[in-house]
Amino acid sequence: MILQRTLTRLLTMIATLFGVAVVVFVVIRVAPGDPISMMLPPGASQADIDRLRALYGLDKSLVEQFVIWLTGVVHGDFGTSISLRQNVLGLVLGRLPATLELSIFALLIALAVGLPLAVLGARERGTAVEAGIDVANGVALSIPDFLWGLVLILLFGVLMPVFEISGRVSPQLDLPFTTNFYLFESIVRLRFDLTANLLGHMFMPALALALPLAAIIAQLLKQSLKELLTLDYMVLARVKGFSETQVILREGLKNAALPTLTLVGVQFTFLIGGTVIVERLFSYEGLGNMAIDAVVNRDLPLIQGIVLVFALLFVVINLVVDMAYALLNPRLRHG
């Protein structure tokens, strides 16, 4: 059953990615701006323009261009960036680690804030503490990551300048890294001075991304916990002499985790989508920041590559969450 489910999901995934490829391909080719004329100095001859156009395959029909591009993509060739004149796949893979590290760090913050708040709210249900948590959740949820980023810049970048608000790492530092997973590598190499510097840069953008998600986790998990706490076996655990907190941590979390997992998976893709503007806001050198530059420069191959990588990331996360849900849910496991 799980195999069949996975196969269906894989096929849907490929269909979705193909759809994304078609949409983005068509959309950017409707663009009025000519990327070729932007590359050449003013006064370039028509012959030069035509030669360059042929070089990037822009002289062929739309369908032909799409087939050529798609054949390349299937073979791992995403083309050459027009503005940076480098291999698109190399550029994207160079930036992807920065965005992944930021997103995962943000997810961890969201969990670290959301889980304790949910437990606390469920334990103190019906009190002013729960009401306070509800209000905080409501505010954190309504304000999007872009605005949180600006609030954090003002509070901790200007008013109390304790965190960095620009870049991924201090530029004067000598980096010994061989991969672009700076944070991960700094920990593995035990260079905790660099880890601290990276985290100091990452904390503000990650927190901006994390706050709305933390609120969603806190709200949903608290609701599931409160419903569970009225069930018989929870009452029994309490009669046995376990404290309220123990009951919640031992029995409640185990059973409330499943519905929360599905939601966190979907919300995590929204969080990754949010990195585009948050990276811009904090001049963080990730994929999203590069994407905006690519759009501004009308760098068609680069835009296509980045959008496709984002889409791939989204569908893979959804697939993983779906499979994790199937594996963890006893009803589906034995079904």
Binding site: L17, V24, F146, G157, V276
Partner: protein
């Protein structure tokens, strides 16, 4: 039936507070030429980076101070509200019409219609929305209508998903079956019976979407892709403020407060409407 559901049982302070703020901003935007103390575009380099009124060095008449070109912030905020509300209303309504129509069709008829619509929604959900918006505006060319079209093209799925689910559950209910037995056509049932029952959900979503549209417009202005750079926008003001943050914090703070309050109000207004319309929550 709908009238009976809409009867208020108790007043909701959140609804009134949020609605009140939105009304104030809307009126100020509409009557901007009468309300704004200065011309929002008038530059005066003698008056650059004046602080707000309670800080020493403030100039009387420039209540919230000026930006790096000496333009009055309060006047720019008031005029910026015009674009924010124009985008909020137009984009949200356009997204709502497209999304609700497709959602109704998919949810009520099911089958092939549902499969096609759901596939498109899946594809749309695989795009990072902000990047999609930036891409669309870059393609369409900057300008108010491009911003509105881009937001509607991206966000119709929010309405479609919710309305589809709602229409699906409504379509299974007895009253729909009864109407069918009574000889009403499918389109008739959908528009006369199903749509009114889905309407409360749509209205609440519409308010939420207006808040989202305001933010997306601000983001587009921030990356310098919204409307022409001359007209004041809250996002454009934020972009200026971000640059001069260490010299003049107020250039960033006031548009930011404006955006936060407006977005909070739209979402609270939507929540309030939902709980007022929803018989279960009441």
């Amino acid at each position: 039936m709908v009238e009976a559901r809409a009867l208020p049982r108790r007043t909701n302070p959140r609804l009134w507070l949020a609605g009140g703020w939105l009304l104030v901003i809307l009126l100020a935007a509409i009557f901007a030429p009468l309300v704004a103390p200065h011309d929002p575009l008038a530059q005066d380099l003698m008056l650059e980076r004046l602080p707000p009124f309670w800080v020493t060095g403030a100039e009387p008449g420039y209540w919230l101070g000026t930006d790096s070109l000496g333009r009055d912030l309060l006047s720019r905020l008031i005029y910026g509200g015009r674009i924010a509300f124009a985008v909020a209303f137009a984009a949200a309504i356009a997204a709502c019409l497209v999304g609700s129509a497709l959602g109704l069709v998919a949810g009520y008829f099911g089958g092939w219609a549902d499969r096609i619509v759901s596939r498109i929604v899946d594809i749309w959900m695989a795009f990072p929305p902000v990047l999609f918006a930036i891409l669309l505006v870059a393609v369409l060319g900057t300008g108010l209508s491009s911003v509105i079209i881009a937001i509607a093209v991206i966000d119709w799925t929010r309405f479609c998903r919710v309305v589809r689910a709602e229409a699906m559950s409504q379509a299974r209910m007895d009253y729909v079956e009864n109407a069918r037995i009574a000889g009403f056509g499918r389109l008739d049932i959908m528009l006369r019976e199903v749509l009114p029952n889905v309407l409360p959900t749509i209205i609440a979503l519409l308010s939420l979407e207006m808040g989202i549209a305001v933010i997306v417009e601000a983001i587009l202005s921030f990356v310098n892709l919204s409307i022409s750079t001359d007209d004041p926008t809250w996002g454009g003001m934020i972009a200026e403020g971000r640059l001069s943050i260490h010299q003049a914090w107020w250039v960033l703070v006031f548009p930011l407060i404006m955006l936060i309050l407006t977005v909070l109000s739209f979402s609270q207004f939507g929540e309030g409407l939902k709980s007022r319309f929803d018989p279960v929550l009441r």
